[in-house]
Symmetry: C2
Subunit: 215 residues, 2 copies
């Protein structure tokens, strides 16, 4: 294994460990010692990549939107796909759970920021393109819709996390989209959108089948 | 001033102080000493009403839905009114800000619970009555709508709290309701609903003009 590849793997292992600890304990209660123990790497290796707890939190936030999803003929489907695949992956991936918890922590985010602008920018771009193609109703303001979807999604996932331990998070996000989209998409587009609760799972399965993994 | 009235006032002062401290620092970082200092009451007075930090948090959560609002001819307007008046009062009332923060705290809520069931029950009752009167579209499931509105509202207010210091929270909640209601209300009801951003402010002003306050 090349040295660079090993460094990438170590960095990823540290990020996942940091995410697990942040997701479970929150930023304030988490310690670098906890993260070190969870990661199973040397102190030197960890500090080579991240020189503080703050840098670890920033690192976790930076990789929130890294999952690539297939392009869709209907741009608004891509917005749905981001929401549904994140909903699906929340249960599986501590990085996303940590991203949600860190972003909503009023004390911690003064130090490391938030993942929300990342999501808002990604969705604004998609809704803008959807708008240009005539997929949306004419009154739609792309950034307003993006902020609405990001903030409402976050409320729904938090509710699912705290009330049902994420068991029904995909169903709840699907219900949210079913209620929001009729006032965003034009009727002809609306009826062709797939917002089923298992949409995220199907997308991730397809993506995994296509991309050869190196591990 | 009768002894009982004094006790009620002291209790309220302690609750408001607790809310201010919880809203600013969160449950874990808050101390009873901070609350005591903010309340300006004796230690004995505080402990007469609340025997622990946990009891203070529970006390704050219990009074979340205490604001009485006028009945409306259209029941769905009452759901809108709760959302818009809470949005308006979030900036003014630390009790509501504390309620939101305490309810979303995964560590703390293991000790004191959450205000969400209170809101979900209140909205479920309203939507059930709206449904019986034919105000809603036929597919509407009252509890599902109530949970959706509570969770999405919470995401929107959290976003406004952390991104814009609540400056535009009423506008954002109004946008949320404008997007959700077309898939909840029947068209004839929809066009009679008032979801303007200043709805909450008007309601609270009217309520204040009607009810004589004792202080």
């Amino acid at each position: 294994m090349a040295q660079q590849e090993r460094a990438v793997r170590t960095r990823r292992a540290v990020l996942e460990a940091a995410a697990t600890v942040f997701a479970d304990y929150g930023y304030t209660a988490a310690t670098v010692a906890d993260i070190l123990k969870t990661a199973g790497v040397t102190k030197g290796a960890l500090y080579f990549h991240f020189d503080s707890k703050e840098a670890l939190a920033r690192g976790v936030l930076e990789v929130q939107a890294d999952q690539r999803l297939p392009e869709q003929e209907i741009k608004l489907q891509e917005m749905v796909d981001i929401a549904m695949s994140v909903a699906h992956r929340l249960r599986l991936d501590p990085v996303l759970r940590a991203g949600a918890r860190l972003s909503a922590d009023p004390t911690g985010r003064k130090h490391y920021g938030s993942a929300w602008p990342l999501w808002v920018d990604a969705l604004t771009e998609i809704v803008t393109r959807a708008h240009e193609r005539g997929e949306t109703l004419s009154h739609v303001v792309p950034r307003e819709v993006a902020e609405l979807v990001v903030s409402a999604f976050n409320g729904v996932q938090l509710y699912a996390q705290l009330e049902t331990d994420l068991e029904d998070v995909e169903y709840r996000v699907s219900v949210l989209l079913q209620h929001l989209l009729p006032s965003i998409a034009s009727p002809a587009v609306l009826m062709r959108l797939d917002v089923a609760a298992d949409r995220g799972e199907r997308l991730i399965r397809e993506a995994a089948a296509l991309v050869p993994t190196s591990v």
